[in-house]
Symmetry: C2
Subunit: 109 residues, 2 copies
Amino acid sequence: MNVDNAKSQMRKGMLDYCIMLLLNEKPYYTSDIIQRLKEANLLVVEGTLYPLLTRLKNDGVLSYEWQESTQGPPRKYYVLTDEGREALSQMDAAWNELESTIHMIKLRV
Amino acid sequence: MNVDNAKSQMRKGMLDYCIMLLLNEKPYYTSDIIQRLKEANLLVVEGTLYPLLTRLKNDGVLSYEWQESTQGPPRKYYVLTDEGREALSQMDAAWNELESTIHMIKLRV
DNA sequence: TATTAATACCTTGTATAACCTAGTACTGTA
DNA sequence: TACAGTACTAGGTTATACAAGGTATTAATA
């Protein structure tokens, strides 16, 4: 059995949630997000992140603001919209449900 | 944003893990598994489960034994192999890692 | 003995859609 | 001009999960 594949399948669909959790703290731009996720042991590359952020923006859960940078071109800082906060709370519920499912199976309840 | 889709994406890849957890208790046949997962709020249908069990068997993590039934045709009871138990412990680790990743992001550690 | 119902097993084809690879292009700075 | 830091995209790969249909065995009944 290819456990690495199993792991990557497990992570599937978590990225959206993780990014929304991050942006619930404060606005971040792409490199920030990659860095923060890396610190939490979630490796993500640009080619993954940009389309995902665009998708979330088109879904209405994110918006962005341009901000000047002291070293280089301006950056897009993404923020969670009101709709995003609402979606996030539903994602929280979904995550809790998933955790509880696993625990139920583990404990034979 | 379609939260239902997000939920189903989150669940992706969890089925393998859940089934291996179940079979770590004792042998089950297909209808048992569907029933047990249902009790844990994980709805699965036959068309999903059969190919999955076959895949896990071909991967060497499961094997099966035929058992007579008192009411109907014989059943295939699936059991976890030694290799399966080893894979399961790695899946446990992967799950714990995922949980910890989410918690790290939530707690801004 | 034939027929039907119930239970079990299984396969094919498709939707989904996430994710990654491998680039391009623009902007500011040295 | 060269370089580094941004932003972005087209195209391909991959695998899960499901819907829908088919086969085989047993039990019950006419």
